[in-house]
């Protein structure tokens, strides 16, 4: 009974457009008042301090800062141009370069919005130049951008890892192969669409091998950063936070090398980092409090009992959770959706016998889907904003084939969990 009421209270509070952080804290207060004799509010101070001074979470501002520096380093444009040289011979041309660039930028960036915005700004001018089908082109950018949180590093995986006590390096390892498979699926989607309707693929971009070899070194900076940031974690040389710190230094060095390191640039980086960080910190404080309340009043056990009395099989529980996320994902902001539901869904899934690392990857895929499904899909808004004309539904329609690709990926990872689990197991 209390489970349903709790969820209703939470949705009502959040639906009334109260800031998510405050909404979760207030929901926690209400539930505490109604269901628990112990006043848990006293823990709030300790919780706020210990949460925000947590070393693992320090990785979050570091990755945000890393992204802010990368953006200003000039790496993205050069990388995109090189990708154009190497990938545009495929049917669908530049659209493959879009996806490839997103995957590569996503492998150094921990955020989907940043990935979509960066590659989007660089690529959008090409639609007119080469007469592409505009909708599909926009779709590749919106969908490709979501790869930012699946291919490590990933801010969402760090939050999931800290909230559920799951190893972040393992999550990173687990995200790697699905990231690769999904990139190929996205490219395959473009390929199929352009074989079916060749006109969508735009005019061929002419390249020469000389030009290809000349631009190849431009792919190096992101590769080097990828090796530093992700390689160090995989080899066990550094923790996620440490490697993010090294990444910041690497990105700063590259920015300086391109002559773009200035005091004004550093000031922008600091301000941008702190604004985004504070927004996440606020939600985390609210969520951790709600989490404690939920555990104390035994909400998860109740849900567990409910599942037992209805004799639900693990597969049914999983299906229910997936459907819940797809529904919530259409209208809820993605980050708050993830943080406010993890305390309820993850214990259920683990009780049902699924691996928390595997579920972390599934959850990221569901969040990616949410980012490109209307009415609220943040990447759709970003790409629409960059285009600055036409209607929102152009992007929505263009992204829909990739939503199908994402759903295929979700089905794949449910049918073959090893796509995610093989690498973490092999590395041990």
């Amino acid at each position: 009974m209390s489970a349903g009421i709790s969820l209703a209270v939470l949705l009502l509070v959040l639906g009334s457009s109260i800031a998510v952080a405050a909404g979760m804290l207030l929901t926690g207060l209400v539930l505490n008042q109604v269901y628990s004799p112990m006043p848990l509010t006293r823990m709030m101070g300790e919780l706020a301090w210990s949460t925000t001074s947590n070393f693992i979470l320090t990785a979050i501002p570091f990755y945000i800062m890393f992204g802010e520096i990368l953006l200003r380093s000039g790496i993205a444009e050069r990388m995109y141009n090189a990708m154009v040289q190497w990938l545009s011979w495929l049917p669908g041309g530049l659209m493959h370069s879009n996806i490839g660039s997103c995957a590569m930028f996503g492998s150094v960036s921990g955020s989907s919005v940043a990935t979509a915005a960066t590659i989007g700004v660089v690529a959008i001018g090409e639609i007119q130049k080469h007469k592409y089908n505009e909708r599909l082109f926009l779709g590749t950018l919106a969908a490709g951008g979501t790869l930012g949180i699946l291919i490590p590093p990933s801010i969402n995986m760090i939050i999931y890892g800290v909230m559920t006590d799951t190893s972040v390096p393992k999550l990173y390892l687990a995200g790697f192969l699905p990231g690769l498979v999904l990139t190929l699926l996205f490219s395959l989607t473009v390929l199929i669409a352009c074989l079916w309707r060749p006109r969508w693929g735009g005019e061929k971009v002419s390249t020469t091998w000389a030009e290809r070899w000349r631009t190849l070194p431009d792919l190096l900076p992101p590769l080097v950063l990828l090796l530093i940031v992700v390689g160090a974690i995989f080899l066990g040389l550094a923790t996620a936070t440490e490697s993010a710190a090294v990444g910041i230094m690497g990105a700063l060095a590259m920015t300086a090398w391109r002559g773009r390191l200035t005091l004004g640039m550093l000031r922008e980086v600091c301000e941008g980092t702190v604004r985004t960080t504070a927004m996440i910190v606020a939600i985390l404080i609210g969520a951790f409090f709600l989490n404690v309340v939920i555990q104390t009043i035994g909400l998860t056990q109740q849900l567990g009992k409910l599942i037992k009395t209805h004799e639900l099989t693990p597969a049914q529980v999983l299906t229910a959770v997936i459907v819940l996320y797809i529904v919530l994902g259409t209208f809820m902001e993605e980050l708050s959706m993830m943080i406010s539901t993890i305390p309820i869904t993850t214990p259920l899934i683990i009780q049902a016998g699924y691996d928390p690392v595997w579920f972390g990857i599934l959850l990221v895929l569901l969040i990616q889907t949410a980012m490109v499904t209307p009415p609220f899909g943040i990447n759709i808004f970003v790409i629409h904003g960059i285009r600055a004309r036409g209607t929102l539904s152009d992007v929505e329609v263009g992204a829909s084939p990739f939503v199908v690709a994402l759903l295929v990926m979700i089905a794949l990872i449910c049918a073959f969990p090893d796509i995610a689990m093989w690498l973490p197991r092999a590395v041990g």
């Binding site: 109260i18 006293r42 301090w49 925000t52 936070t241 090294v246 773009r260 980092t273 504070a278 609210g286």
Partner: protein, 196 residues
Amino acid sequence: MRRLQSIAAGVSRAGALVGGAMLLAAAVTICIDIFLRYAFARTVGGADELAGYALAIAGAWGLSMALLSRSHIRIDTVYVRVKSRAVRAALDVLSVAAFAVFAALVAWHGWGVLRLSYESGSRSQSALETPLAIPQAVWLAGLAFFVAVALLLLARALVAWARGDLDGLFRLIGSKSATVEAKEEIAAVEQALEKR
């Protein structure tokens, strides 16, 4: 009150800058630590601890800047479908009031944490043995400032409401639509990419 707000904006910007600089310094310290670990097989220790303090402090001081720039996330699925401007204004006031309660509660209980650390003289369990009261005091100052900013915004919004100046109210505390937010993100990216 407008003057007060521009002062508040200045202070929160400065707070954010210092917080960001602390994070950057923490990253540098960690790198030095890693370098020493692998080059000379020794550690200075404490870099991770300092990074934690940097996050707590930058986060606390950043809260007010995020509030002033209306960057805190709100689920506006219902909000944007409400036609009545008066109802929207009421929702905005409700949201900022809820934030004031949030800030006050966290700051009040944060004060308890600081007092306890100070009275018991507790130190971190590490090589640094930092007296916890020091980073916690800076952290709490950020939270206290956040309370002040939230209350200031609430007061200004109520005044605007009483005068019937709904546009003014929306400018202060209205929910930024996702499109506006996306536009700001893009503007930042474009600015960053064009600076060469």
